[in-house]
């Protein structure tokens, strides 16, 4: 019974550490996903000059589920609830917040991008996309740095704390 308890405690502590480390890895993955999705959107807007709802619908096909749902929520809210783009965008960012490992830095970049999306001519849109990509690139570097530095720490911390807790208890 004791052995079972020890294994359970060490297992749980290690899992927590590994989960935290995995979150850091997922953040990097999700930022890359954002970068790719917005590159596609930029191309769609620049070359076809499609309005935002149509461009979102077009590029959402074949994207990861989270981005597909994020884009789908925007264009559907605009069409079905007659909501302006900036409001629909703000609502959909909440979904992204809940269903991804993105942090405030990149979410804020996406949020502020939504305020100026579609609000000017195509050259302004290009600058807006460039700014977003720069902010996402900066966030990606931060996330990678954070992952390199902290992933192992979290993994070892999880294992060490659980072992320490076992030793203290017995």
């Amino acid at each position: 019974m004791k052995l079972f308890g020890i294994i359970l405690m060490i297992g749980a502590g290690s899992a927590m550490g590994f989960c935290k480390a995995y979150d850091l890895k997922c953040r990097t993955r999700d930022i890359i996903m954002l970068q790719n999705a917005f590159r596609l959107l930029e191309t769609e807007i620049y070359y076809t000059r499609s309005p935002v709802p149509l461009a979102l619908e077009t590029v959402s096909c074949g994207m990861p589920d989270v981005m597909q749902e994020f884009f789908r929520q925007i264009y559907q809210t605009m069409e079905q609830e007659c909501m302006p783009l900036y409001q629909a965008w703000g609502q959909a960012v909440h979904y992204l917040e809940m269903h991804s490992c993105l942090c405030e830095a990149e979410l804020d970049a996406v949020r502020s991008f939504g305020h100026s999306l579609g609000a000017g001519d195509v050259q302004e849109q290009l600058k807006n996309f460039q700014l977003l990509q720069q902010r996402l690139q900066y966030a990606l570097e931060q996330a990678e740095c954070c992952h390199t530095q902290k992933a192992r720490i979290w993994q070892y911390t999880g294992i060490c704390f659980s072992i320490a807790a076992v030793l203290l208890m017995y």
């Binding site: 605009m78 007659c82 579609g118 001519d121 195509v122």
Partner: protein, 328 residues
């Protein structure tokens, strides 16, 4: 102008799609006092920090109580452009865009210039929603006059803005395209050069208004280029254009006439004398280009037509008419 107005549903949809809730209620409160309700609505004018104005078909103007706020204006601009100003750059540059259903929105704001030319409009401060109405039968009274044996007469419709020229032109096109069974006339192939998407109200190339089954629509193309293009490509029997007024338009119309194509056009104006004084159109009028010139104006809530037919001496003479004369 008589006929069946089918505008109420269109106005309701317009309000629902493009107006914030408070302004929707404002408009509905105002039109409650009108006999025809939403049917009689012709224009909705919104200006930032100013009250909303409604203009009815009878020329009556109604002022709403509440002012339009900057936030409400932003909402409407965002809705009409689908949050995508870049997609309507040309429309913003020209100062208007066409909505699904054929309604046109005029825009005012700060013009951004590039090399002395308007590049776009920003800080939009005024919107004018012009409600497109398909008035079936609007052109009934004119139909017998359009025929000269088997030929179709060149016709010019003239009125001040909002006088019903486009509505009349659209119905003429529809009837000639489908054929007028009452008069025993077959349908003709009609080409509509719809530079401002007002006649057919095309969205992604599909006409939203009924312009007849033998009608080809060239949407968003300049009149002068469009006329030449359709003559070569579509071999129409009739060409219809809205709001002529430039040298290039006149030249293209003359070329069309030489090709044996009948032309229906509209222009701004109030009298035949005014047309003779027009810096460009006087050439067409003096040269007797149009066999038929029709002036439309509102009087006591009805559209009154003054019709002029080209006389033998080159001038024009007024035609007395009554709708019963045509046996319709």
């Amino acid at each position: 102008m008589t006929g069946n107005y089918i505008g109420a549903a269109r106005v309701e949809l317009l309000l629902e799609q493009y107006f914030p809730k408070e302004l929707q209620e404002n408009v509905l409160q105002c039109v409650n006092h009108l006999d025809n309700g939403l049917n009689s609505l012709q224009e909705i004018r919104c200006r930032v920090h100013k009250p909303l104005f409604l203009r009815c078909a009878q020329g009556k103007e109604i002022q709403a109580i509440d002012n339009v706020s900057s936030k409400q204006m932003r909402y409407m601009v965002n809705r009409i452009s689908q949050g995508s100003v870049y997609a309507w750059e040309e429309e913003f540059r020209r100062g208007y865009l066409t909505l699904p259903g054929g309604c046109r929105v005029g825009l005012t704001g700060k013009a951004v210039l590039e090399q002395g030319q308007i590049h776009t409009l920003t800080h939009i401060n005024g919107l004018n929603f012009r409600i497109a109405r398909a008035v079936s039968g609007a052109a009934d009274i004119l139909m017998p006059l359009l025929y000269e044996g088997d030929h179709i007469r060149n016709c010019l419709l003239v009125s001040p803005p909002g006088g019903g020229k486009t509505t009349m032109l659209r119905d003429m096109v529809r009837q000639l395209s489908d054929g007028v069974t009452v008069l025993g006339k077959p349908g003709y192939t009609v080409a509509v050069i719809d530079e401002r998407s007002e006649i057919a109200g095309c969205i992604q190339g599909i006409p939203q208004m009924d312009v007849g089954c033998r009608t080809d629509v060239l949407d968003g193309c300049s009149k002068s280029d469009g006329i030449r293009m359709v003559i070569r490509a579509m071999a129409p029997q009739i060409i219809a254009v809205d709001e002529i007024g430039t040298e290039a338009d006149v030249q293209a119309l003359e070329e069309a006439s030489e090709s044996g194509v009948a032309v229906f056009a509209t222009a701004h104006g109030i009298s035949i004398e005014g047309l003779y004084r027009h810096p460009v159109l006087y050439k067409l009028v003096k040269g007797g280009y149009f066999t038929l010139i029709v002036f439309l104006h509102w009087h006591l809530g009805q559209v009154i037509s003054e019709i002029y037919l080209r006389a033998g001496g080159g001038g024009y003479e007024a035609v007395r008419y009554h709708s019963d004369d045509w046996g319709r």
